[in-house]
């Protein structure tokens, strides 16, 4: 079973689902040279957001820790700890900031889970 991400160029195979660790993320190089961060939560749902931390410019969000706030998963930037909602990309600590999100699916079911 593979994880796929919908880039502007179409669905892109990211990796085997088994390569993801629940609770952590990986970085993905997109065809246009930009980067996405793909996460797997404890319940097995995959999410993808921009890998670039808008507060520092560094491509590090894939290395943040995942948590839950009011039942919704978020990632905390490993640099200055701002949290981003994995579903919407909104920053939970700064109303002005947000990152883009990408639809993700696992190839066997072909069902978008985010």
């Amino acid at each position: 079973m593979t994880v796929e991400l919908l880039a502007p160029e179409g669905w892109l195979t990211v990796c085997e689902l088994s390569a993801l660790t629940p609770g952590r993320g990986v970085a993905v190089l997109l065809p246009d040279g930009s980067q996405a961060a793909v996460f797997l939560t404890r319940s097995g749902s995959a999410y993808a957001i921009d890998n670039r931390d808008p507060f520092t410019g560094a491509a590090v969000l894939s290395r943040g820790l995942i948590g839950c706030a009011d039942g919704r998963p978020f990632v905390a930037s490993p640099l200055l700890k701002q949290r981003f909602d994995l579903g919407s990309g909104r920053c939970l600590d700064d109303g002005e900031a947000a990152v883009r999100t990408y639809p993700v699916r696992t190839a066997v079911t072909s069902a978008a889970v985010a």
Partner: protein, 850 residues
């Protein structure tokens, strides 16, 4: 009177920009008076007002900027003209002008003198020789520091408050230091004979030499004219390469005197209750003023009150300064000293209640009236009760005085909280703030903002904390209702090895089954790692579910830097390294293009490694015999050392060997926060052990162990836990200390804050880990023995296992491709991150939010 000759914008000239001068400007600004007056300030020193009370902290790492009391932009914002390095030279009261050294002639409608005081230098021969200093300004400190660089011994004339500060500073600079005090005891103004004796023992135990009851007769000089020692009044001579005069201060009243203002017989510009001098257009405030009660106040609290009084009077409001409380609490050479009220029992019929423990250098005396009214007291070595006792002065305490001086554990514990204080009790004596005003606020920042309480000397901050409503939920985060210490106990007793088990079984209802959060995951990861050998869990922090709990630094066993690259710190135990290993580090850095920097912990930090380079870098380092330095972990970092007895002519023990032993013993130990240590080979303390979580200083008989020290943003001198220990005793005590800390500390709580928070403080800690009052010691030692037996180098383990190496790629879909946003530009023959690639907002606009 100023009001009689109206001017469109009356001019105020302030002479002196010290702490009190700045407070006066702030008082004007708060009252809107900076908008209606033209204000000019003449300042003799080359820098704006700074915190003279904490001057000595310069030697423990505070920069002149840290000490500054003048907020950036304050002068500009309020239209105040400040002339630095340009003192007033004369006052012409008829023409109403002040002339400065540079020749400025500044007219005034109102003149404020805040000229402070100058150190008193006794008129002894040689007092002006090169090597003689006073201790008053940052410039004095810089000069002392510079001169001390090539010297080995120093003497301080004066064993009062400032003298001991200066002695601590000299000792901190590595000089063999002696203190000469004319009075029969140290700090004669503040403490009585018993307190002085307790202080003396403690000061001597720190390696300082103290002469009391003798005066200085002459400063001796060598053939080049510089200081070589002193002749004392008992005829003896002592060696000293430099001498600091700290024998009291005198009000700087020369300008007032020369311009014909009334000056006290023994100095000080005479002022009335509204801080006006004999010329109603001229005010004098702070240490230069002789208050209406006939005293000159050398403390900052009364100075601030005079500043407020003068500001109120300028605006025609009623406020008087008629005298102030001389209570003080301070930490000198790491010893708490406090005195309040009638400390010397001068009131007729006053009675004493005394507790004295010369073993631990604790002395407490309360002065009470026959009717039981608390009149004052002296506390040395343990001034914890000061915050409660001082406000109780003048009333009958709710419990008998003997129970107020006995240490916790002896007799019934006193349940005397700040709740026992009346609403009118003054909690902050610097800003004269009562309990009622403080309890109207909800948080400490609010208290500081609204009342200024806690922003002067800071001694009341702890009491304020006790007065504020306790946070009702002490839980670690939104996921757990327990503190870190409670979670530790749950993990230990239930033998849990999984975060999910803990969250689902013990988390808050709404968090169960969820992901946890960025706060609890690393905390629980650390607890499980600390207990792993005992629980039978994997000691490798990145195995299985543990991998998901670690912060990014632990996850990649390296330190994340601002552009997403990592830094690498190999362990260099005790800071000792062979030339061959040094060359390997150099070669690795060169081959991978890494920026290299020596750290404060006697190691070498290699910056700029990409995620994918980390295993290659470490393969080289491990092959050369290096291990992980755990710079990325909440774990033991380094044990610094001085070179010790093997080489140093002063060393009394082999500090390097001990530092290496300790570093190897505790390497890899996961803790609530990072742990730093140092070992000094003699009392000169070149390894700065007293600023460490656990510090060791050699004595002729063995080792002294200090705990709870810290540098960084909130420096704290470590407390002496035990003396003259053998090697084995030392190691056993540190084993217990560390495991007790790991067991009971809060998340991200350094040993310094933990010790300050620990109920019963150092005494309690000593009871538990030295005298085993809780019967815990065997267990603590067993936990450490498990840790030592199961230690493995994380990087060697990682390199051995291809599964573990899989994570070290920049992109999961393009292994081998480096991250294009990690780029570097040259700087000073090395590299630094290229921030242009990152396209960021200026750093000021960022800042952490949580």
């Amino acid at each position: 009177m100023a009001a009689a000759t109206p001017t469109p914008t009356p001019a105020i000239v302030l002479i002196g920009h010290g702490m009190v001068g700045q407070r006066y400007l702030e008082a004007l600004a708060e009252r809107g008076a900076t908008a209606t007056h033209r204000i000019t300030v003449l300042c003799e020193e080359p820098r704006p007002a700074y915190d003279r009370v904490h001057l000595t902290s310069y030697f423990s790492g505070s920069t002149p900027e840290d000490l500054s009391l003048t907020p950036a932009g304050f002068m500009e914002q309020h239209g105040i003209e400040l002339h630095l390095g340009d003192p007033a030279e004369s006052i012409d009261r008829d023409a109403r002008t002040v002339t400065s050294r540079s020749g400025r002639v500044i007219p005034y409608d109102v003149l404020v003198l805040a000229t402070g005081s100058q150190p008193f230098v006794p008129p002894v021969p040689g007092k002006d020789a090169p090597g003689c200093f006073v201790y008053r300004t940052i410039e004095d400190l810089l000069a002392i520091e510079d001169y001390a660089r090539t010297r080995t011994s120093g003497a301080v004339v004066g064993g009062g408050l400032l003298g001991l500060e200066a002695a601590g500073a000299l000792s901190g600079l590595g000089l063999a230091t002696r203190v000469v005090e004319f009075a029969p005891r140290l700090m004669p103004v503040q403490v009585d004979e018993g307190g002085g004796a307790a202080l003396l023992r403690t000061v001597e135990s720190m390696g300082l030499t103290v002469h009391t009851g003798v005066g200085t007769q002459e400063v001796l000089t060598g053939s080049d004219g510089s200081v070589t020692g002193m002749r004392l009044s008992d005829g003896s001579t002592v060696d000293a390469d430099l001498v600091v005069f700290s024998a009291g201060v005198r009000p700087r009243d020369h300008l007032a005197r020369a311009s014909g203002l009334t000056v006290g017989e023994r100095g000080g510009i005479g002022v009335d209750a509204r801080c006006r001098t004999s010329d109603p257009r001229v005010y004098a405030i702070g240490e230069c003023a002789l208050a209406v009660d006939g005293r000159v106040y050398g403390l900052v609290g009364p100075g601030y009150e005079m500043a407020e009084t003068a500001a109120e009077d300028l605006l025609g409001r009623d406020k008087e300064f008629t005298g102030a409380d001389l209570s003080t609490k301070l930490k000198l050479l790491g010893v708490d000293v406090a005195s309040f009220g009638d400390a010397h029992g001068t009131a007729p019929d006053s009675l004493d209640v005394v507790y004295s423990d010369s073993r631990s250098g604790v002395y407490k005396k309360l002065v009470v009236s026959p009717a039981g009214v608390l009149l004052g007291g002296v506390l040395v070595g343990d001034a914890e009760a000061y915050g409660l006792l001082r406000p109780l002065t003048g009333s009958v305490p709710p419990v008998s005085p003997d129970r107020l001086v006995l240490p916790a554990g002896l007799g019934a514990p006193v349940a005397l909280g700040p709740s026992a204080l009346p609403d009118s009790a003054v909690i902050c004596s610097c800003h004269n703030v009562t309990k009622k005003e403080i309890t109207a606020c909800a948080t400490l920042p609010e208290v500081k903002r609204c009342t200024k309480a806690g922003t002067g000397c800071g001694s009341c901050v702890k009491t304020i904390g006790l007065l504020l409503p306790a946070a009702t939920d002490r839980g670690l985060c939104g996921c757990f209702p327990f503190t870190r210490a409670e979670l530790y106990e749950i993990v230990r007793t239930r033998r849990l090895t999984s975060f999910e088990q803990l969250l689902d079984g013990h988390g808050r209802e709404k968090a169960r089954g969820g992901n946890g959060c960025e706060v609890c995951k690393p905390t629980v990861g650390s607890i499980i790692a600390s207990l792993a050998p005992t629980l039978g869990a994997s000691g490798y922090v990145l195995d299985g579910e543990q991998a998901a709990l670690q912060d990014t630094n632990d996850h990649f066993l390296a330190n994340l830097q601002r552009n997403g690259s990592y830094s690498v710190v190999p362990r260099i135990p005790g800071g000792e390294i062979t030339p061959d290993k040094l060359i390997v580090i150099g070669e690795v850095a060169r081959d991978f293009g890494l920026y290299t920097k020596i750290t404060g912990g006697q190691r070498i930090d290699l910056f700029g490694a990409g995620v994918d380079q980390l295993p290659q870098i470490w393969a080289r380092l491990v092959e050369a015999g290096f291990e992980s330095g755990h710079a990325y972990g909440k774990a033991l970092r380094t044990v610094k050392s001085c070179v010790g007895r093997s080489w140093c002519r002063y060393g009394v023990q082999d500090s390097v060997r001990m530092a290496i032993d300790l570093e190897l013993r505790y390497r890899g130990l996961r803790a609530p926060h990072k742990l730093k240590s140092a070992v000094s080979g003699c009392a000169r303390e070149c390894a700065e052990a007293q600023s460490k979580d656990f510090g060791v200083i050699a004595t002729a008989q063995g080792w002294n162990l200090y705990v709870g020290g810290n540098g960084g943003a909130s420096p704290r001198h470590a407390d002496l836990l035990a003396q003259d220990l053998s090697d084995a005793e030392l190691v056993r005590l540190i084993d217990r200390f560390l495991m007790f800390y790991i067991r009971t500390a809060d998340r991200l709580e350094r040993t310094s804050t933990w010790l300050d928070r620990l109920e019963g403080g150092l005494d309690h800690l000593r009871e538990v880990i030295v005298y085993d009052s809780l019967g815990l010691c065997a267990e603590l030692e067993a936990l450490m023995a498990d840790h030592v037996a199961h230690y493995r180098d994380e990087w060697a383990e990682t390199l051995r296992d291809p599964e573990r190496l899989r994570r070290f790629v920049s992109f999961v879909n393009a292994p081998g491709a480096p991250d294009p946003t990690v780029k570097f530009v040259p700087e000073r023959d090395q590299v630094k991150p290229d921030l242009a690639v990152l396209d960021i907002r200026p750093l000021e606009a960022v800042g952490g939010t949580r």
